[in-house]
């Protein structure tokens, strides 16, 4: 493991740590998504620093960043762009939507209508967008981090399994610990006022995001190349395939994982090994990532749901069966 690679990961972690307290696992998952080009879905109640985390990472790596708050009245053109008539020239010109960025934060993606979700997920899959008669490639790297509130489901459109499968990882953000919450309060007390043109507002955590990136895009590309060089043993692949196949035969699971889940596990395990300064993946990567890779790809049977079983419990059974 070279110093440059170590520097990249640690620098981003340190920069995010200046703004966000705790949430190390979420930062690691975002790094994994960033390094593999996979998309990330964050499930968490409001106020758990989802948006702040994405902002921090984007600023730390010097990536183009866009945020879209999804609502029910959005149209696909609000995401991908449209052709507009320029009255000065009398010709149509293409207006590229917020999807043309490196890092797109799709806030509360389940509040948009299915046609908007489909437009975004198509862009996620194909990494190109068609506006009018022209097709435009999206910038590289292109990463979507979407958020969902798992509690409030009124007026939302739940993402179907086929679209959930497009997300490499689905991480469930938990509340910070008591010590971390105390640290959040302490930091807030020290922020002070933000003064602009004679006016003032109390600073928020967003104002604390550093202006200068700690890494360049070239560093990220180099790290992505290093991730692709992480060794994946035949034994590890057998573990992965065994886990995926177990999801398809467990009696409590109605729909198991697709082969895409296996691909996601291997890619994510590579990136996790890189983040943890290893040149090879180990079973620990599989067990740590299994929940984020598998849970949103399985659906329990009605019988299991009627018995009050949860997907987490079933997955834990599978992991114990595996190891």
């Amino acid at each position: 493991m070279t110093d440059t690679r170590t520097h990249f990961v640690q620098a981003v972690r340190d920069r995010v740590g200046e703004v966000v307290v705790g949430q190390d696992v979420v930062v690691e998952r975002m790094m994994i998504a960033l390094l593999t080009g996979g998309h990330l879905l964050l499930l968490g109640v409001p106020g758990t620093a989802k948006t702040l985390l994405v902002n921090s990472v984007a600023k730390a790596v010097d990536l183009q960043f866009s945020r879209v708050q999804f609502t029910i009245d959005m149209l696909p053109s609000d995401i991908i762009g449209s052709e507009l008539l320029d009255q000065a020239t009398g010709k149509f010109r293409t207006h590229q939507g917020p999807v043309f960025t490196n890092l797109l934060l799709a806030d509360e993606i389940n509040r948009a209508a299915p046609k908007v979700q489909s437009a975004l997920l198509e862009a996620m899959q194909e990494r190109k967008v068609t506006i009018g008669n022209a097709t435009y490639p999206l910038p590289m790297p292109f990463l979507v981090i979407a958020t969902q509130n798992p509690i409030e489901q009124a007026g939302t459109f739940e993402l179907p399994e086929a679209q959930l499968d497009r997300f490499m990882l689905c991480h469930r953000i938990s509340y910070p610990t008591a010590e971390q919450e105390e640290e959040v309060l302490r930091r807030q007390l020290k922020m002070g006022l933000k003064r602009v043109e004679g006016g003032a507002m109390p600073k928020t955590a967003f104002d604390m995001i550093g202006g200068e990136p700690v890494c360049k895009l070239e560093d990220l590309v180099s790290a992505m190349a290093d991730v692709q060089a992480v060794h994946v043993s035949e034994v590890f692949m057998k573990h992965c395939v065994e886990l995926i196949r177990l999801t398809r035969t467990h009696p409590a699971i109605e729909m198991g994982c697709s082969p895409r889940a296996g691909l996601s596990i291997v890619q994510a395990a590579r990136a996790r090994a890189f983040v943890n300064e290893r040149d090879y993946v180990v079973p620990e990567d599989l067990f740590q990532l299994a929940e984020d890779v598998v849970l949103h790809r399985i659906r329990l049977s009605y019988e299991a749901l009627a018995e009050g079983r949860k997907p987490e419990q079933v997955l834990e059974e599978l992991l114990q069966q595996l190891g």
């Binding site: 043993s233 034994v235 057998k238 079973p283 190891g323």
Partner: protein, 273 residues
Amino acid sequence: MRYPAFMRGLVAILMVFAQWVTAEPSPKGIGLESDVEVILDRGDYQPKPMDDRTPLILRLDQVRPDGKGRFAYSFHCLGFEPGTYRLADYLIHPDGTPAKDLGETPIEVKSILPPDFQGELNPFSPSPLPKLGGYRNILTLLAILWLCGLPALIWLGRKKKVVQVEEPPAPAPSYAERLRPFVEAAAAGTLSTSGQAELERLLTGYWRERIALPDQRMSEALAALKQHPEAGALLRALERWLHQPGGASNSEIGRLLEPYRRETLNGTVEVRA
């Protein structure tokens, strides 16, 4: 009025006609009108008008030639009192004169009751079984039997319990037993990739069962195993052997697995947990 006697009595009508072609007349229904066919020489006989006291009613239904120069008469005959009557007394010629040319052709009506029968009832003969009660009691008994029929049918139609003698399930092989072939293969250097994967899972499961808490999540249990001096050393060496290129040699793994190989031969593994 003789009709009450007719209604009461059991009367058999037996008409015997000398000129009937058939040999023997058969008994007719008791108290019922009977059809009788007679062959006579002339075809112009008519029924004689009768009053309401006549012991026999004879009605002419049809007269037709029999093809041999004679005539077939179809009568409806109804007798009220037993006795022998002359057919000539009940037929006349078209001019109203008695049909004396028929001679003594008889009509006999017999009773099936004995001649001295005076209308006595049948003597009472006690039943060998005691009577349970009247009509209502019998109906009640039948209703009970009917209601008991459904439960009886259900009872008789139930599935017979098949007594299955379940053999006690074979005890699940212990980790030591499951480990044995893989450890032996590893020592011999013939362990396949699938065997290596299985060996790693078995050793992880073996130590997790010994060290980890029952409700501990797998990811947390694995971290705890890595902290354990004996399990941690083994699992880290396995990781280097199986996952890191050039990480651990077969001889190093052979030394680490030697205790497991030795102990699995005895069916158990001694652990200093």
